[in-house]
Subunit: 469 residues, 2 copies
């Protein structure tokens, strides 16, 4: 169906447009679209308008700014001339983390500079750079095919509140589900293993979190007069935490692991072949030992295994010195990372039952769950994933390996609401400094991102005929 | 050696002097000697001066104000004419808890009023009333014996910082140990079981407390990226707390119970014969269940058994909502109530060893102990205790039973430094509202306190010849 796309045409096109492309990105990076800071609300709107205009200039026949109760998202659409082509929805975000020179930046965070083959500036990698490679990518794709429209129905949804926890994102997706309908979602807001090891991320963990309050005496009471003869809510909280895991580091809550497929030998082999250096990983984790579920490597633990983690615990007197009380209350914040096969609401029910059964007489408790995020996992044999791997392999001239992410993201909302598989296509590397001072993007990798998408749309259209098409 | 003291003489003397005695007490209660509030420092000094003057007027040939780096103590001494008589040191305090009408007092806390046979006012029971009964008591004793000096060498030490944790008390006692030397210490800063059940307290628990800090990652790290693969210091803290007790509620720290004599059948019988109502006790404890070491009653647990209690726990995020982190650190405040036979510094060493052995790899910890307070226990067969019981029995016309206190107090410093047994003589009842609004003292019981001491000195001199005398 699609034309062949000789790699040399793509590369020449990218080389020719490289300077203008980087100048445009720098212009976008100058807009401090910090969604978490109300004084930048106008900048976030300006960023959306800038992007919509740039996408129109790129050739997208439909570009819209979608308001939300918070910051606006940008939607763009460029239908293929082939009605039976797959529909692809690209996800990214145009808002950025806060940044100030005083935080340790060597140059102004919103005055991008190119130095040593890198562009420094807030948002260079997370996520403006990775959104922006799609603009030159689709033009290079058209240059190679000679067609007037991409080989796939291309949609972009670039939200404006990701760095603020995407508070309005799911509602937006639900409200606009028909416009967003797609056969596959491609998330460009992740990274690769390293500069020299191109990888594609195949999954993110989900997360369910809860707060548990424990109430013992009606007020703090004297531990001399009453200690040793009444139940202590801080002890109850601590015992619950201690009981979360067995000696092998496995979560003890009945049913917690239900539905999870064990890692296959093939999956474990793919993880094991990555050049992992545990000492270096521990430095990144600012931690002093690796520890976790027995029988799994560190990467397996963070990418492919669910967890129960204490994010916060408090109860009784925490000021200077001592205070001899039995505290009136204690509080826990727990979060559970979830992997494919786990149903968040079933995990929630299991946790509630398990907690209720373990709180001792004389202690009342309450437990409140936040909205969960489902895990995403791209099947390794999914044809769209194969296209991404081939396109990336062509761009990088290297074998592409597989990673996952331990974290959780709004991609899961797209997967849920649109009922479409989620793929990840990111070219950022760990040294890019997301959320840190001196964030940068490697220009070579950025242009590899352009090149990957230039190959991707044709490959997808050629190799995949989704059932719905 | 001593004269007989016909009870009728004592009672007549008390009746005759009752009004002046109560007027004097009311005058003292008008001085707001709140040691915890710097703006009342002058009042605490005034209270000491008032008491010293009153003791001089009572007849004590020696009255001194002993300065400390904080609030002053009052010392008074009245030697017996018999050089071989026992030396008794009475302990109490002249400072009071803070109080304000707005806290729920029906009348001004420092404007004492007599109503329904009670005197209301801050310090009425804790501890001015109980210090003050010793003044009329010794006069009534002299009235009955016709002697010019008490039958025992009588010393009083009335400190001014008890409600602020007695920060300078031990140093004062060490510095003045020769002046304070005594065969027995009588602490008048406790209470009785109830209005209708006169009791004498025979012991207080000691206490050792510590803070433990746990350090994991060098900063809070993302629980998505790293959770499940590094040790969590909040989990380490919780596991330590959970491991403190076994399923029978016994403390698991090796050596913790070393040196403790089991409660004898006689001691258990004395506790069991008290009219204990667990439901009412739970209301006082503002708690919703009794729980503790298996094999012991509630009273045995709080009076006669050591404990390990969590006074505070903290770590990670404790604000509103959730935060998906592995926290950098966690903190515990533990206290251990100690009973006779336990050596605080041995308990401290046992706790240190036990904690160090349980902190997992990758978590650093530090542990700091405060200055411990030793337990006090009066042997039931001590002749001075027998005198107190007889004197109280004569005053109350009832059998006197035995209690203990679960708390810990500066009495232990007197026991330690002066190497003298500590007895407790208090007439306050639980409804007196120590540290609460509308503190009061029952006038009938207050005068029974006067009467008890009127009998006590003669009984002591008659029945006890300490080895040192
Ligand atoms: Zn991002
Ligand atoms: Zn007191």
């Amino acid at each position: 169906m699609s034309e062949t796309q000789p790699d040399s045409v793509v590369r020449t096109y990218i080389d020719t447009h490289r300077t203008a492309f980087l100048d445009d990105l720098a212009e976008w990076l100058r807009i401090p679209s910090v969604s978490a800071q109300p004084e930048h609300a106008g900048d976030v709107r300006r960023s959306a308008e800038w992007l919509a205009a740039k996408l129109k200039e790129t050739g997208f026949p439909v570009t819209e700014i979608w308001p939300t109760p918070g910051a606006p998202a940008v939607f763009a659409e460029w239908p293929s001339e082939d009605p039976s082509a797959p529909t692809v929805l690209v996800y990214g975000h145009h808002d950025v983390q806060p940044a100030a020179l005083a935080d340790g930046w060597h140059t102004e965070p919103f005055e991008p500079v190119v130095r040593d083959g890198r562009m420094y500036g807030r948002g260079a990698a997370d996520d403006k750079g990775q959104v922006f490679f799609h603009t030159l990518g689709v033009r290079a794709h058209l240059a190679a095919t000679g067609a007037a429209a991409p080989a796939v129905h291309l949609k972009l949804l670039i939200e404006g509140e990701e760095e603020s926890g995407s508070p309005n994102f799911r509602a937006l997706v639900e409200e606009r589900a028909e416009r967003l309908a797609a056969d596959v979602v491609i998330v460009s807001d992740t990274g690769m293993w390293s500069e020299t090891t191109p990888t594609v991320c195949t999954g993110m963990r989900g997360v369910a979190d809860c707060e548990i309050d424990f109430h013992g005496p009606d007020q703090d009471i004297h531990s001399g007069a009453f200690g040793g003869a009444v139940p202590n809510p801080a002890t109850a909280a601590a015992r619950l935490v201690a009981a979360l895991h067995d000696e092998d580091g496995r979560v003890t809550i009945p049913g917690f692991y239900d539905g999870i497929a064990e890692l296959s030998d093939a999956e474990r082999a793919l993880i094991a072949e990555l050049p992992f250096d545990e000492a270096e990983w521990l430095r990144t984790a600012k931690s002093h030992a690796a520890a976790g579920e027995a029988g799994y490597s560190t990467l397996e633990r963070v990418w492919a295994r669910p967890t129960a983690e204490v994010n916060g615990i408090g109860g009784g007197y925490q000021g200077p010195g001592g205070k001899t009380i039995v505290p009136a209350s204690a509080h826990l914040k727990l979060s559970f990372r979830l992997v494919s096969g786990q149903e968040p609401y079933e995990v929630e029910a299991a946790v509630r039952d398990w907690v209720a059964a373990r709180v001792p007489a004389g202690i009342r408790h309450s437990i409140v769950f936040g909205a969960p995020t489902r895990p995403c996992l791209t099947p390794l044999d999914h044809p769209a994933l194969q296209s991404v791997v081939r396109a990336m392999g062509r761009a990088f001239g290297q074998r592409v390996r597989f990673t996952r992410e331990g974290g959780s993201g709004p991609a899961a909302d797209l997967q849920d609401v649109l009922e479409a598989p989620v793929l990840f296509l990111g070219i950022s590397v760990p040294s890019d400094g997301w959320h840190s001072p001196n964030e940068k993007v490697e220009l070579d990798l950025l242009l590899k991102g352009v090149e990957t998408t230039a190959y991707l749309w044709g490959d997808l259209a050629e190799h995949w005929k989704p059932a719905t098409a």
